[in-house]
């Protein structure tokens, strides 16, 4: 399998890697607006958390890392949630409890830890940026498929000619996982991502 630049970039994307964040994709990708909202929330909280963690990682002793990182992430998610409630109330209604649970999501914690562990600060922030970006893109791709085919709507607007052909199962939880699985398979096929991950694991084992 040929390695590509994209495969190296994608290997940090949680929703297609270890299926971290699959729950968020499933819950937030039934509507494109919700997907964009969740993607933006993940993206911003990843970047801000990574920046702060990077700045404080030398001050925070190892034994206090986990609670400290979680508090930082929770703090940012709460701030983002307040901003979204003020300016995007409809999206917050769509996301419901999933926006709040982002605070304890392994998606962001994993990146914060990686940023803290990596000696090269600028690279690790870039990784967080790319991770957030791809997470958003993949969620939006899933949302486009699910909303258009499952609900026959686009951003809530009905698509008349699809009304009689919608596959309602795609709009539900089962459809969420199904679409994510298909998207993961396509990405693996195009980018050879799985191969890159296996090679990385081999290197680590050696």
């Amino acid at each position: 399998m040929k390695k590509t630049k994209t495969s190296y970039l994608l290997k940090g994307t949680p929703s297609i890697l270890l299926v971290l964040g699959a729950g968020f994709v499933m819950a937030s990708s039934a509507d494109i607006r919700a997907a964009l909202g969740m993607g933006a929330a993940v993206f911003v909280s990843l970047i801000l958390s990574s920046l702060v963690v990077r700045a404080l990682c030398k001050v925070i002793p190892n034994y206090a890392k986990m609670p400290a990182y979680l508090l930082i992430i929770t703090g940012f998610v709460s701030l983002i949630s307040m901003v979204m409630q003020a300016f995007f109330p409809i999206v917050v209604d769509m996301l419901g409890v999933h926006l709040s649970t982002l605070a304890v999501s392994a998606v962001i914690y994993r990146d914060a830890e990686e940023v803290a562990d990596n000696s090269d600060g600028s690279t690790s922030i870039k990784t967080a940026l790319i991770t957030g970006l791809f997470f958003t893109v993949i969620m939006v791709v899933c949302a486009v498929i699910r909303e258009v085919l499952g609900n026959a709507t686009f951003c809530g607007m009905p698509i008349e000619f699809l009304q009689n052909y919608k596959i309602t199962a795609l709009a539900g939880a089962f459809g969420g996982y199904l679409v994510l699985a298909i998207v993961m398979a396509v990405i693996n096929k195009i980018t050879g991502l799985q191969k890159v991950i296996e090679e990385d694991q081999e290197k680590e084992n050696n």
Binding site: V59, I60, P61, A68, L71, I72, T74, G75, L79, M82
Partner: protein, 424 residues
Amino acid sequence: MKKLATTIAILFIIVAVFCGAMFGLNFITGPIIEANQAGAANDRLNSVMPGGQSYTDITATLTGVPSNVVKVSKENGGKGFVIECTASSDYTGSTPMDIIVGVDTTGKICGIKLVAHSESKMWSDGYLDSYLGQDSALAGVELFGGVTYSSKAFKNAVEAGMGVLISNDLIQAGVKSDAQILTEMLPTLHTGLTSGGNFKGEAVTPSGNIVEGYKALNGSGYAFIITSGEASFLAIVNASGDCKVYDVNGADVTESNVAVAEEAKAASQLKDFSTAAQNMLLAKYADASDITAIELTTFSNVVYACTFKSNGKDYTAFYSCPLTYKDNVMAICTVIDENGAIASQDVKTFLFGHGVEYLPIYKAGFGDVNSGVFKEYENKFVGITSGTLTDDVLVSTATLSSTAVKLATSEAFVAFDVVKGGQQ
């Protein structure tokens, strides 16, 4: 100890910083979030109050607010009131309906909305619209729009909400016409024209002194609003052609209004149920002899009655046609012995809940109507008397059908008492 102190200090600093940030951010987002929430609440109320802007909850200032009226809000611009009420359908398993009604200062309904409810899809398209422009009398509300059991509960909730505004002198009460008063008596006077308390009939063309006429969907008779001089009367006709006349006070005035009764009888085109009833009877009692039809004097779902002999014993049979789910007409033959106990019960068109939709039992995977499951249900009635008929005969997955069977059975007992010389 030092580790613990350091950990606590670090965590405390992080918490303090974020608390400060949230405190500061709240100055910006707090008012916007509050405005958003108020806007969302207003949007709900504005949907039934055209031109409405802001509202004040006045529920606490009102007296005599029944439990089904949840909230009454006054539009601050003086456009009227919005009543939020709730209603429970008689239909087992249904969720309560949340209803919002906008009433302008003249006491007319200017908007009405039912928050999503599973049964609303079965209402006719114009049912909710028929409330618009109505005063508290609700005279123009579509009579047959409520095809399900929930329409009665819906109308009652709206009446209760408007009653609160009237009793607190916020709007004037609407005046009911004689015809409306008489029509509203129907569910109690002729149950054959109702189902679950809802009016079930087909309008017939008025003629002569008849200003309104309705034919029962199950063929159990007619109802007419007939004028005579200045007065209006309700004339009801049963399946045997017997007629009773009532005035606006609900008094039986048949004897003094013979002409009204005759006009009602003449306008009725009654269906002959004798063949269908006797076929059902003979299928059960092949040796039935001396079958003699009885003229019914009750006004109910019982459409045919006869006496017969079988195996040397005397029986009275009552053939009833109550309505069940989606106004399907049932056929029930209740045979009562000389002692007033049920000798047999035959039921056709019994609609059984089958997950997705209600289907006649013979299509629902329970076998045909002669299946063991169904026979067991029918046999539950054997030996029951008017005094021992209870809700035990109801079937949870066939609420409407089994309720209709129970009603028909109790009506058969009433008819039996009348036949045997008891009081109606």
